[in-house]
């Protein structure tokens, strides 16, 4: 401390007053199990209807969605030069009636089959009189006609998902994992996507990283927890029809041979390769400090590689100048580990640098300083890309949504986000069955008060990587538009199912509460016909 230094004095004063405030607060009794979940049996409650989803489909009592006939458009503007092509929304497109008790795939796809696609940077404004739809009610987005359903109810606090990087629907699109907080406790619930009823509760927190089996619709792979209190070095699998949890891979001995003090592992909002076999995790010690990373092939039951030095500068490899600049504080903690769908690369997002590693960690290259809300994406030619919003300066692509070829590190600017409303954006590359397309969800626009929203604002859209970089807007999110009042728990975090027939996002329907709820957009049938 420096006597008389104004900064020290200011900090001392603030600390003193905080001590006074805390000194008056009672010390609660210690409750060692207060926040520790994850008992041995993962599934503690199998509620209703379980097993039905694996046999005959539910009966269909739902009426057809009335998608108006007058939403036809001219041929899509695929070159993007003549501006967006927008369907005329039907006047009554928000008031379709449907029995929410059952929604069959046939019904939904029929409803979406006549919806015309819109292309380009379209600035059609969201409806000013749109209301929050009833649970399960099929609606048409007022601007784009897409068929939308609210799948969850916020209840006490929220019913949402946490990541734009994970596919939370199972392999046959019949079940959805949702993170529920009823105001007193949290759980991960399984929702039947036809009845929208909760069919199981998985007593895990979101840091158990629940990931559906790539082909078995009843199985979820997951960790035992996200910290030293409940985490481990084991990969588990739970059958949601029986509630039985088994150990898929116990890596304790093998990982502790490499990292003796390792106690638990996380991908931290990452996901495995598309075949469900290739995983990568950061290994942490009992204090939660990251001490290394491993990649693992489940099919071969083999650790493929490990990364014991988490500071890429320590390797002596020369890094690009921009990355050097970002490393003035060291790489920082690992934010997440992403595996490309072909399991060729592992991308690690540190706090201050993003690095692409070979899958066995034998080589690495720096991509950029940072990438937020980004994702890895498979391209049609079989290469891998990392798509992110480039916040880094100096950079030729500063302010652009940017795709990086992970083989060549060549950057391609896609959208200039500083050219309109400085919107924030999440990227999802979960459509591994439709290579070359990403889902973009936007939030926190910085429009001038009273001005029309920019074309990027508060929207769910698809974007093509390569080719003509087509943009397909699907819907507005209708999230609370006042940035000061909007909750983190209602960020859209849009993601897609693997075959890109569905897009999911979170919204509070403009209520400006923490009440995030999950919405589903049926991708219009025309989209499947695009080359």
């Amino acid at each position: 401390m420096i006597p008389g230094d104004p900064l020290d004095s200011r900090l001392d004063t603030a600390a003193g007053e905080l001590r006074s405030q805390l000194g008056e607060a009672p010390i609660p009794d210690f409750e060692p199990n207060k926040r520790v979940a994850a008992p041995v049996a993962a599934v503690v409650a199998i509620l209703i209807g379980i097993g039905v989803f694996l046999s005959a489909p539910f009966s269909n009592n739902a009426s057809q969605v009335d998608v108006a006939d007058d939403t036809s458009i001219d041929a899509p503007d695929i070159d993007g030069d003549s501006g967006p092509v927008v369907p005329e929304p039907a006047a009554d497109s928000e008031v379709d009636s449907s029995d929410p008790s059952r929604r069959t795939t046939t019904e939904l796809e029929t409803a979406a089959s006549d919806v015309e696609l819109t292309f380009g940077q379209d600035a059609t404004q969201p409806s000013s009189d749109r209301v929050r739809p009833d649970l399960g009610q099929l609606r048409n987005d007022p601007a784009y006609g897409s068929v939308i359903t609210r799948l969850t109810d916020a209840g006490g606090r929220f019913s949402r998902f946490d990541s734009n990087r994970r596919v939370m629907t199972n392999s046959d699109n019949t079940l959805l994992i949702t993170h529920v907080d009823d105001g007193t406790s949290e759980n991960m619930s399984i929702i039947d996507l036809e009845s929208l009823e909760q069919v199981a509760v998985v007593d895990r927190d979101e840091e158990s990283e629940l990931t559906w089996h790539p082909t078995d619709p009843a199985r979820i792979r997951h960790l035992s927890g996200g910290d030293a209190n409940n985490g481990s070095l084991r990969l588990l699998e739970t059958d949601v029809t029986t509630g039985e949890t088994s150990v898929l891979a116990d890596l304790t001995d093998r990982i502790q041979q490499i990292f003796p003090t390792g106690t638990h592992m996380l991908s931290a909002h990452g996901r495995p390769g598309d075949n469900g076999n290739f995983w990568a995790w950061v290994v942490r010690d009992e204090t939660g400090a990251p001490i290394g990373a491993v990649s693992y092939d489940l099919a071969a039951d083999s650790i493929i590689g490990s990364l014991s030095e988490l500071d890429p500068t320590a390797s002596g490899q020369e890094l690009p100048a921009i990355v050097d600049e970002g490393l003035v504080n060291g790489p920082g903690d690992i934010e997440s580990i992403l595996v490309t769908s072909d399991a060729k690369y592992v991308v690690i997002e540190y706090a201050f640098v993003t690095i692409v590693h070979d899958a066995d960690f034998s080589a690495f290259r720096a991509i950029e300083n940072t990438g937020d809300n980004a994702d890895v994406v498979a391209t049609p030619d079989g290469t891998d890309a990392y798509v992110f919003v480039n916040f880094n300066t100096p950079s030729q692509n500063y302010g652009f949504l940017t795709a990086v070829d992970l083989d060549t590190l060549e950057q391609t600017p896609l959208i200039n986000l500083f050219d309109n409303a400085n919107t924030s954006m999440s990227v999802s590359g979960t459509a591994t069955g439709k290579p070359g397309w990403v889902a973009l969800s936007t939030f926190s626009c910085k429009n001038e008060v009273g001005a029309d929203e920019a074309w990027t604002c508060n929207k769910i859209m698809l974007m093509e990587l390569g080719g003509e970089n087509r943009i397909v807007p699907l819907a507005h999110t209708y999230r609370c538009s006042n940035d000061e009042d909007a909750s983190w728990f209602t960020i859209p975090n849009g993601w897609t199912n693997r075959d890109l027939t569905r897009v999911y996002f979170t919204s509070d329907s403009g209520r400006c509460t923490e009440g995030g709820e999950i919405y589903e957009v049926i991708v219009p049938g025309q989209f499947a016909e695009l080359n």
Binding site: I27, N229, T287, G330, E335
Partner: protein, 186 residues
């Protein structure tokens, strides 16, 4: 004045074993400091209490070992700081993305409590700088103690402290820019 007792010969010096503190006593002694540290790092009282609960649960599980450490409180702070970064990963991503997307960074909002401005400025620093400032100014930890908690070198701590102070001074206004490098050497 009573004569000083004859000092013992070297062979007679007996170092009393350090008294092992019970977890309950430790909990009572350190709880408020931990909550304050977590508040300075996170800016949210509820999140701070959750973080402290997590850290203390980890300590409780390992108390037979941790209690024998020279500084159990340093170990608990290490858990707390590491845990806060994990929680930040989820809760701060939106705020970080929003802030970064503004071409002209907005000035920190003037809160009604002037101290909030200080803590908000601390939290706006890069993570390690923020942690070092919090440990130094809130928790009265020395540079060596901070290095122990963060498992890094003292020089690294000094660098973070210096840069953090510079950034803080810039954020809080020109009155604080005077000679602010000096604190890093204390």
């Amino acid at each position: 004045m009573a004569p000083s007792p004859t000092p013992p010969s070297p062979q007679e010096v007996v170092v009393a074993p350090r008294a092992i503190e019970s977890f309950d006593d430790y909990y009572r002694r350190d709880y408020r400091s931990l909550v304050g540290l977590a508040f300075v790092i996170t800016g949210d009282h509820g999140t701070a209490e959750d973080l402290v609960q997590d850290a203390l649960t980890t300590a409780h599980r390992n108390w037979s070992k941790v209690s024998h450490y020279d500084k159990p409180e340093a170990w608990v702070r290490r858990v707390l700081v590491n845990r806060s970064t994990s929680r930040f990963r989820r809760l701060a991503s939106e705020a970080k993305a929003t802030l970064k997307l503004r071409q002209e960074p907005e000035k920190i909002v003037e809160p009604s409590d002037p101290n909030l401005e200080v803590w908000n400025a601390v939290r706006s620093l890069p993570k390690r700088q923020s942690q070092v400032i919090a440990l130094h100014y809130w928790d009265d930890q020395s540079l060596a103690q901070i290095a122990d908690i963060l498992e890094c070198g003292t020089e690294t701590v000094k660098t973070h402290l210096k840069r953090g102070r510079q950034a803080l001074a810039e954020a809080l206004g020109e009155n604080y820019l005077k000679d602010n490098d000096e604190g890093a050497d204390q």
